[in-house]
Amino acid sequence: MSVAAQAPPAADERISKPGLLDRLVVRPEIGSLLGAVLVFLFFSIVTEQFLSTGGVATWLDDASTLGIMAVAVSLLMIGGEFDLSAGVMTASTALVTAILSTQLGWNVWLALFVSLLFALGVGALNGWLVMRTGLPSFIVTLGSFLALQGLNLGITRLVTGTVQVSGMRTTDGYASAGFLFASTFSFGGTSFYISIVWWILFTIVASTILVRTRFGNWIFAVGGSALSSRAVGVPVMRTKIFLFMTTAFAAWLVGSINILRFTSVQANQGIGLEFQFIIAAVIGGCLLTGGFGSAVGAAIGALIFGMARQGIVYANWNSDWFQLFLGVMLLSAVLVNNALRRRAERVRR
């Protein structure tokens, strides 16, 4: 037992400076980084296209929209909440934009703006309901997930008579909005989608906020212990509602990228994606119970997703194997996280 006050005066010399390995082990994203390196090496050796610039562009693009969502979801999970409506929200925002601009003839920019307000509103409502009722966010957002799913189909069918909205290409402002959200840029002779840039940008901003700002400190705190945080004056409700709104914002960003790239959207799109976001965040080191995790880790988790999904295609395997891979990956990530958590929460009396 160590009683701090009775320790010898030469306090700081009691432990040697932690080695590089020790310092790395406690980082939440280290597991995902190792996993990413393994997956990368494996497919680089097994397949030929994987390392070609075209191949790289493909799996980076696959990872990008998933990554944007995974990063936002990881912040929310660190804050101790889930959002099951996040997947469907990517379709809802795209539908709002598409219906306003193709059916009502609005300028795309205005439609995007209204769609953003809609997303932030849904996010705020999710957060407010969770905080106000004290119910688990799992249940509350399951409700909004189903509600949005119904709204997506119902309204799309009412407005267009079908279950998809298309024709974005002929709308006002499509060119400029498309440039921002869905253009490609050339790098080393290969074209890369701009969504990759959004993904990297979003990760940098989210990670900086999380680790370097006051608000980031509050995110960890409300996820780690909402009651303790409230007791020292952290605005728990405001913090959590803001996190739900951040997730909704990310869904708007992804929805906008999708609608402007594919120029049409299916009303049943996005269903089931919410679990992929959570899986990527967990692979990236987020605890399901909140209070611990990393935004960079979630981005790496999404990268593993993208590399494995495309790698399996390049290797000419049946894509059924992807699910197996996912399951194994998730289980090992949770086991590693659990060990880390026990290390951090170990109580010495």
């Binding site: 037992m1 400190n217 705190a221 007791a231 170990r346 009396r349």
Partner: protein, 263 residues
């Protein structure tokens, strides 16, 4: 000198349940007011009123002579009343220094580009803790790796550092071993010597008596009396805590029962 906190016949009801009634006591700077009572005596209700978690619905609460009713813990904090809860003192997964500054983080930079001043955070935490006589190996380690006593001490040092005038401690020694409890009580005394008014909630008179200046005894939501240290002995305190007259009656009954068994 006006008292830091003065309650006069304060009371609180939850629906039809009277949780607290007619409790009067004072908390002075540089003194420890101990609140003693068994489970359900109203100790928690009293401190929740003082900490701004609940509002009292009768009697008066004066802070530095000014009548007040807190609407949030933040408001109580702004009046210099800091509360350290038994299990809620810290966030276990966060590092010591992040816990220390939680809610009052040091920042640098301007406007929307304000970032945490992590270097200052670490240094100030280390300094503030060592001033309270708490010597930690590493302020970057998660608080969860500290012992129960050390965690309480971090929370106490935090309150002292951020200029609390009144420190409310909810059962700080409850889950601790004898040695750890002693360490925590030492920091309580140190906080008192630095001029803070301390409210110490406990159900252990042996922890309360050595550091306390005033003892408020609660039972079933009512006050059994508020005594200065000079007016009460530890034996009397223990007896009152244990139920006093009721205990006498109980031992009488037990004796009677024994006699019956023998006959």
């Amino acid at each position: 000198m006006t008292s830091l906190i003065e309650t006069t016949e304060i009371g609180k009801t939850y629906g039809s349940v009277i949780a607290l009634r007619d409790v009067s006591t004072v908390v002075n700077a540089g003194e420890v007011t101990c609140v003693l009572g068994d489970n359900g005596a109203g100790k928690s209700t009293l401190i929740k009123i003082l900490a701004g978690v609940h509002q009292h619905d009768r009697g008066s609460l004066k802070v530095e002579g000014e009548e007040i009713s807190f609407t949030s813990p933040r408001e109580a904090l702004d009046h210099g009343i800091a509360t350290v809860y038994q299990d809620l003192a810290v966030v276990p997964l966060m590092s010591v220094w992040r816990n220390f500054f939680l809610g009052s983080e040091p920042t640098k930079g301007f406007g929307p580009f304000k970032v945490l001043d992590r270097k200052q955070g670490r240094e100030v935490t280390k300094k503030a803790l060592s001033e309270m006589g708490i010597d930690l190996r590493d302020v970057e380690q998660p608080v969860g790796t500290l012992s129960g006593g050390e965690r309480q001490c971090v929370a106490i040092a935090r309150a002292v550092h951020f200029g609390a005038k009144v420190l409310i401690l909810d059962e700080p020694t409850a889950a601790l071993g004898v040695k750890q409890a002693g360490v925590v009580l030492k920091y309580v005394a140190r906080a008192r010597d630095r001029g803070l008014g301390v409210v110490l909630i406990t159900h252990n008179p042996h922890h309360a008596f050595p550091v306390g200046d005033r003892f408020l005894l609660l039972k079933r939501g009512r006050s059994l009396g508020s005594y200065d240290k000079a007016d009460i002995t530890i034996e009397e305190l223990t007896r009152q805590m244990a139920g006093g007259a009721e205990l006498d009656a109980l031992s009488h009954e037990l004796r009677a029962a024994e006699k019956e068994d023998v006959s």
